[in-house]
């Protein structure tokens, strides 16, 4: 009888200690990247966010990342993080959507954050940035700076986010230059410097004098700089790759959002949600305006301010689709968030056919 009590007491103590020990255990947070951290663009900025989490909660979190995960093969990478004790997993590309949901269904106790997606679950939240706000400002600059009225666009995949970017860019350019045209090459990749350089060269050969991109390497910028033309950086400030050629870049600042989500996870208050911020909340920023005349700079800054303060919406109605038909406005005098997130048509003035 005595021995039983002692054993039971020892077991309880051990369990209690184990419980206390696991409370001291660090929160493991995992990241799945679609490209290399060294792309100095999209993935680089996500990694900056990851580092911000480590800096904000020293000793309490442990972060892991897997980079250059091909979207088609991502399920096992996500699963690997799930199986190794990570309680919060960020999957940072649109193409990770289905694999994230699949793994999330198998691990209901792990929380997932999917970037730029639109499907949620009880343990899957989505988040994205209103990059199209930055695209609109870029369009304004490009419309003013182009001398050949031809802009080259190195695009990646025809998903709504990319299409929204092209549309916002064109609307911005058209607002200052009704004659501007855009030429689009779909590189079918998020990151392949050689191919992106080839696409930029093709566009420059076809008469574009400003290049913008939705792919992740600095290669198109380098090509533009080499020929004395201008370009926009993507997802982070790429001025060091094109000191004379970069006009500005859209910078994605995920750090405040990531730190916030880590905090709610640590406090046990995590909930699925959808967050879509832009200039106003600082998630999207513009790199310093360089290599442009002062009046263009002022116009760009004013446009940025107007969008940031909410006074101006890049997709304000009326919006006309390619055939000239007016699109039904479901927001407050502008396209609604839902409409922007599911954009699958070009606005008037774009001559290309959208690949379906």
């Amino acid at each position: 009888m005595n021995i039983m009590v002692k054993v039971a007491g020892a077991a309880a103590l051990a369990l209690g200690l184990a419980g206390a020990a696991s409370a001291q255990e660090k929160l493991k947070i995992g990241f799945i990247y679609v490209g290399p951290v060294g792309d100095h663009g999209w993935t680089y900025q996500h990694d900056q966010g990851r580092k911000a989490i480590e800096a904000a909660f020293p000793g309490k979190v442990e972060t892991t990342f897997i980079e250059s995960v091909p979207e088609a093969d991502s399920e096992r990478s996500i699963e690997q993080l799930a199986r190794t004790g990570h309680k919060l997993i960020f999957t940072t590309s649109f193409g990770f959507m289905e694999p994230t949901l699949k793994v999330a269904a198998k691990y209901p106790n792990i929380n997932f954050e999917h970037a730029t997606g639109y499907k949620r679950a009880k343990n899957v939240a989505t988040y994205s940035g209103k990059f199209h706000e930055g695209r609109y400002v870029q369009g304004v600059i490009a419309g003013k700076m182009t001398k050949t009225n031809t802009i080259g666009y190195v695009a990646s995949f025809p998903i709504p986010e990319v299409v929204a970017g092209i549309n916002a860019f064109m609307l911005g350019a058209q607002s200052v230059n009704p004659n501007v045209k855009v030429k689009i090459v779909w590189a079918a990749t998020w990151f392949d410097p050689g191919k992106e350089a080839d696409a930029a060269k093709a566009l420059l050969d076809q008469g574009a004098d400003i290049i913008t991109q939705h792919t992740d390497s600095p290669a198109p910028l380098q090509q533009a700089e080499a020929r004395g033309k201008f370009a926009f950086g993507q997802a982070s400030d790429m001025i060091r790759f094109a000191p004379k050629g970069q006009l500005t870049a859209i910078i994605d600042d995920w750090a405040p959002y990531y730190v916030e989500r880590a905090r709610v996870q640590l406090e046990g208050k995590w909930q699925s949600q959808d967050v879509w911020d832009g200039f106003a909340k600082g998630k999207v920023k513009m790199a310093p305006y360089t290599n442009m005349p002062d009046d263009v700079k002022k116009l760009a800054q004013d446009t940025e301010e107007a969008i940031k303060s909410g006074k101006f919406n890049p997709f304000k109605c009326p919006v006309f689709d390619q055939s000239g038909k007016e699109v039904k406005c479901e927001g407050n005098g502008a396209l609604s968030d839902g409409q922007i997130l599911s954009l699958n048509y070009y606005v008037k003035g774009i001559d290309d056919k959208l690949p379906k």
Partner: protein
């Protein structure tokens, strides 16, 4: 002012050159009977080391040499495993690709985010300035001229030299070649080193000329395309040259087709280079009766009988 078509041709040349160089190296390796699947890894270390050394020494030429050396060093490991230990060549090659990609990332980690001026094309005063063909023939990147010399050299070596004949016979039937007194392992070692050097050179081209920066993943599967080119070209150097340029041209042209809004679906255009190259090379190889088959001893290990 350069014409539109000259401009396209120049872009095609830059796209085809790394594929051609890597494929020619792999051609020699496979002709000697070794299947080296590690081309992608060797290209990556070539790109990474080349860029790193070029940045450290501020000399792109030394960077190129370093890239070649890095490719050769990695291929030396492959040679040790497949020739020294007679291990399975397919497995060893794949392992080396993974090792090469990882090593390249490790070596290049400190240099991510730096940019260099690309190695400029050559300029012969007078000749390069000729209108029209001047730039095309006399104003190319030194790598292009090297790739042409390599193509001609490899073809000549294989067809017209004793050493090339030995290499081919070793690749066809290493047992008989050994019985005849040919040095199988030594020839294969030299072939593998040559293949590694070419892959490293192609990699250095990527990071020092094509897109002058280093980023992991920048080889983007070009090593695999070079491997496929060798096979589809039936192990013939001239066809490898054609295949590399066909692939490069198709890639560039499909982008121009998109930029010119020709209305063709972009996904089909993206697939076009791969399909076109496969179809063309298979057709060429089919026309001759008994088209050159694979070297008889390809990917079988040679253990000298005692």
């Amino acid at each position: 002012m350069i014409g539109f078509w000259e401009s396209i041709l120049l872009t095609v040349i830059t796209a085809a050159t790394p594929l051609l160089i890597a494929a020619l190296g792999e051609l020699i390796v496979e002709k000697s009977g070794v299947l080296n699947l590690g081309v992608e890894g060797m290209m990556a270390v070539g790109a990474s080391t080349g860029f790193a050394v070029a940045t450290l020494t501020d000399s792109s030429s030394i960077g190129v040499l370093a890239g070649i050396a890095a490719g050769m060093a990695l291929s030396l490991i492959f040679a040790l495993v497949t020739l020294g230990f007679a291990a399975n060549q397919v497995a060893a090659g794949l392992a080396l690709t993974i090792l090469g990609l990882g090593l390249a990332g490790l070596l290049g980690a400190k240099f991510v985010g730096t940019s260099r001026i690309a190695i400029p094309p050559i300029h012969i005063p007078g000749l390069s300035d000729l209108p029209g063909i001047g730039k095309l023939v006399f104003g190319q990147s030194p790598f292009f001229y090297l790739s042409v010399v390599l193509a001609v050299g490899v073809a000549w070596f294989l067809r017209r030299t004793r050493a090339g004949l030995s290499l081919r016979s070793i690749g066809e039937n290493h047992a008989s070649a050994h019985a005849l007194g040919l040095k199988v392992l030594r020839t294969r070692l030299l072939a593998i080193l040559f293949g590694g050097a070419c892959a490293g050179l192609a990699g250095a081209y990527l990071s020092l000329v094509y897109t002058p920066f280093w980023s992991p993943g920048m080889t983007a599967g070009r090593g695999w395309i070079a491997l496929a080119l060798v096979v589809f070209a039936s192990w013939l150097p001239l066809r490898v040259f054609l295949g590399a340029y066909l692939f490069g041209a198709a890639t560039i042209l499909q982008m121009h087709a998109q930029a010119a809004s020709m209305g063709l679906p972009s996904q089909a255009l993206s697939a076009f280079p791969y399909i076109a190259t496969i179809v063309a090379l298979v057709l060429i190889s089919m026309r001759r009766v008994g088209a050159t088959p694979a070297p008889g001893s390809l990917s079988t290990a040679f253990v000298p009988p005692r």
